[in-house]
């Protein structure tokens, strides 16, 4: 019998997806993107009305009227794509993963029909010490703070032969005491609040916290529930965010590499 198993293993070819094919890949994520040349004020108000989580909003920014899209709030319901008349389309590539909260937000000028560039400087300091200490290895402790298990299913996929997180020197560990990074999913429920704080305390410094999924980033559909304390950053400090509902394994992997400053890495 064991010979059958060995034989079978040897017959398998490699399924590993090269890292170049994973970065910015968001197939199957249902994340939206904007075609600014088709954007009008009317379409903007339609898509804002269709958005169930407030991910889309119109606002004045630097004196210009603009459409604001916060990926941290987006659950990929596709409502905006249905009413957006071609101005909102499913994204074909996605790089807003593993970024700061400000970087999750994009804005488009409604008069000039162009994306407004973000001039706020990108915070860098958090990651440097961890990177210096760790070199290329990273231990991750995944923490479910109340998720629906959609994010867990996709995080688990990172260990399958297609994504194989271990090739980057990144491991999932059992104890927060062994971890460098907490990967936190879900809105933090009231019942998990104490456990989330205790887990955070148990991770030795320097530590990174990454919030995963719409619920982790913003509370998603559960924001404001009587049984929910809030998004992850309402309870513990968060360094970086990986949006999506759920984010695909490619997006999670890209996000982790982005946090580590290793996106350029082959």
């Amino acid at each position: 019998m064991i010979l059958n198993v060995i034989q079978r293993s040897l017959r398998q070819s490699s399924h590993l997806i090269p890292v170049e094919a994973l970065l910015e890949n968001c197939k199957g994520s249902r994340m939206p993107d904007v075609q600014p040349e088709r954007l009008t004020a009317d379409i903007a108000s339609c898509v804002v009305a269709a958005c169930p989580t407030g991910a889309l909003a119109t606002e004045d920014f630097n004196g210009r009227k603009c459409l604001r899209l916060s990926y941290g709030h987006c659950i990929g319901c596709g409502g905006c794509v249905e009413v957006g008349n071609g101005a909102l389309v499913p994204a074909t590539s996605f790089r807003w993963t593993g970024v700061s909260k400000e970087q999750l937000v994009r804005r488009w000028d409604l008069d000039r029909r162009v994306e407004m560039t973000d001039e706020t400087p990108q915070p860098e300091a958090v990651r440097t010490e961890v990177q210096r200490l760790l070199g290329r290895a990273l231990n991750i402790r995944q923490l479910d703070a109340g998720s629906c298990n959609g994010c867990e299913a996709e995080i688990t996929a990172l260990t399958n032969p297609y994504y194989d997180l271990e090739r980057f020197g990144i491991h999932f560990v059992a104890s927060p005491k062994h971890a460098d990074m907490l990967l936190v999913t879900g809105p933090v429920t009231r019942n998990m609040t104490e456990a989330v704080r205790a887990t955070y305390e148990a991770v030795p410094a320097p530590k990174l916290v990454v919030a995963v999924g719409a619920c982790g980033c913003s509370g998603g559909l559960f924001a404001g529930s009587h049984a929910v304390a809030g998004a992850v950053d309402a309870v513990i400090p968060v360094d970086r965010y990986i949006p999506g509902c759920p984010p695909t394994p490619s997006m999670i992997l890209s996000g982790i590499l982005e946090v580590l400053g290793r996106r350029g890495l082959k």
């Binding site: 019998m1 064991i2 059958n4 198993v5 079978r8 293993s9 398998q12 399924h15 197939k27 199957g28 249902r30 169930p52 659950i75 990929g76 319901c77 596709g78 499913p90 995944q142 923490l143 479910d144 703070a145 109340g146 998720s147 629906c148 298990n149 959609g150 994010c151 867990e152 299913a153 996709e154 688990t156 996929a157 399958n160 032969p161 297609y162 999932f172 059992a174 104890s175 927060p176 879900g186 809105p187 429920t189 009231r190 019942n191 998990m192 609040t193 104490e194 456990a195 205790a198 887990t199 619920c215 998603g220 559909l221 559960f222 529930s225 009587h226 049984a227 929910v228 509902c245 759920p246």
Partner: protein, 497 residues
């Protein structure tokens, strides 16, 4: 030790304890299976409790009683009602007389005693500190092992309190609802049209089953019927979800006995299916697809045909893998006789899904209460009597084969036509529907008026099956708990909502 174990005995019918109504019976005289029970408010704001039973007919049987005052517990006659009545007590503040254990279930130490979210205002509920006492097993050499809520792995949170003697588990007490998100309350006030996305987030890996159950309940409430093409595509989505879930569970069983080759192969086959779904249908898990009245999008027949082809190829690989795994003596040694759930316990607790079918209960919503496209097809229902980890593994393998066949047959004769009909919401609407999710019978009730929801009750199979876990674990060694737990594969979020 026997005295200690009596704490685990299910309460039995006693003469001085009367149910508020006589429990319906099947044709052969056996008591009917409890599907769910839940509270709701009448038009005048009065509390009512509705009990739903499976009496062996395609339609479920419902009884409703007023509950403005205390009501009598049905637990002595129907032990399966235990958690439901505790939830009712927490959520509606209904006093239940004669219940053997009315400790808080849904809300933990931080929740004040006097706030019941489905009847009270829940704005700015203060944080409280109240006590919770675990059932204590006393005796020489007995040790308590507390596990969770944060587990050693990528697992949802829940607390397990084992009382062990040496390696052997005497008693396991569950404390769940760490992922309770107040979902039923969140439905209230939402447009019925926009409810499916919330249903999808009740249990992420069964998102499509939840969405379809919700949509069918709304359709029933409003007299709408999803078009034939939508019904067929829903079947494909539901069976694909079942395949992915079962294959993933089978891989998990391999992981928990250290059979890494099997585990790796299963995760790969699962990923193949998710990638095929992405290629053909634009989504890995089928979120944002179902809506009341049908589906929000259609796929052309080539896409569905290539999905069906991918399913065939994956299932062929999985079958080969399952054969190797189940014929390996060291695996048989671990699976056989581990975590036995007796048929009598399964009956008393009204267990559903794979776990029930592995313990000799012959039930499946697809066959017993057919819905949508299942009305046109024959669904085989595998049943085994051993009730152990092996039986649950074998049921999953059988069901993977059956799902692949259902997908092939449906994709091969996909009806033409639209995938969506408009739903007309009346002044008041109310409807219920059940779906066989990968974990078992999933029941939704929706009520609303003028297109807005006023109540949504979700009976998830995990809520129903968790209370059986302690019975399957007792007398096993504690090191086998992860394996037994995986063989049940219950959702924490689905249970906690």
């Amino acid at each position: 030790m026997n005295e200690n174990l009596q704490a685990m005995q299910l309460p039995r019918e006693s003469e001085n304890q009367r149910a508020p109504f006589s429990i319906p019976r099947l044709a052969d005289g056996a008591p009917a299976r409890l599907v769910t029970l839940f509270g709701r408010l009448g038009p005048d704001g009065q509390k009512h409790v509705r009990y739903v039973f499976d009496v062996g007919t395609p339609e479920y049987f419902e009884i409703e009683i007023p509950a403005d005052g205390p009501i009598a517990s049905i637990v002595p006659q129907t032990p399966a009602a235990a958690w439901f009545e505790r939830e009712l007590h927490d959520q509606f503040g209904i006093e239940i007389q004669g219940h053997p254990d009315l400790r808080p279930l849904v809300f933990h130490d931080n929740w004040p005693d006097n706030v019941h979210p489905l009847v009270d205002d829940v704005k700015d509920v203060p944080w409280a500190h109240r006590d919770y006492s675990f059932l204590e097993v006393q005796g020489e050499g007995i040790t308590e092992v507390a596990v969770g809520p944060v587990h050693a792995g990528i697992i949802e949170p829940g607390h397990f309190r084992f009382s062990v003697v040496g390696d052997s588990v005497l008693y396991l007490e569950l404390r769940h609802f760490y992922t309770h998100k107040g979902t039923e309350r969140l439905f209230q006030g939402r447009p019925a049209d926009a409810g499916a996305m919330l249903a999808e987030s009740v249990s992420g890996d069964n998102c499509f089953a939840h969405a379809v159950a919700y949509c069918q309940a709304v359709e029933k409430a409003c007299g709408a019927v999803a078009p034939a093409r939508a019904a067929a595509l829903r079947l494909i989505g539901l069976e694909l979800e079942r395949l992915i879930c079962h294959i993933s569970d089978f891989g998990g069983l391999c992981t928990d006995v250290g059979f890494i080759v099997g585990a790796a192969l299963a995760t790969r086959v699962k990923e193949d299916l998710l990638q095929a779904s992405t290629r053909c249908c634009g989504r890995r898990y089928w979120r944002a697809a179902a809506t009341p009245g049908g589906l929000r999008l259609d796929w052309d027949s080539t896409a569905i045909a290539s999905l069906a082809q991918a399913v065939e190829a994956s299932v062929r690989e999985f079958r080969e893998l399952a054969h190797i795994v189940l014929e390996t003596p060291s695996i048989q040694n671990r699976f056989e006789g581990a975590g036995i759930l007796q048929k009598t316990v399964a009956h008393d607790l009204a267990i559903v899904g794979v776990v029930a079918r592995a313990s000799g209960m012959d039930l499946d919503v697809r066959r017993d209460h057919p819905y949508g496209h299942y009305r046109l097809l024959e669904t085989p229902v595998p049943v085994l009597n051993y009730g152990d980890v092996m039986a649950r593994a074998r049921i999953r393998v059988e069901e993977v084969n059956a799902s692949a066949r259902l997908i092939r047959e449906t994709a091969g004769a996909l009806p033409a036509g639209p995938v969506l009909v408009p739903v007309q919401y009346g002044a008041n609407f109310s409807g219920a529907s059940a779906v066989e999710s990968p974990r078992g019978e999933l029941f939704y009730l929706v009520e609303g008026s003028e297109g807005l929801l006023t109540r949504c009750h979700i009976k998830s199979p995990s809520f129903q099956n968790w209370p059986a876990m302690p019975f399957a674990v007792a007398e096993n060694m504690i090191a086998d708990f992860p394996l037994i737990n995986k063989s049940f594969n219950l959702s924490y979020s689905g249970c906690d909502r």
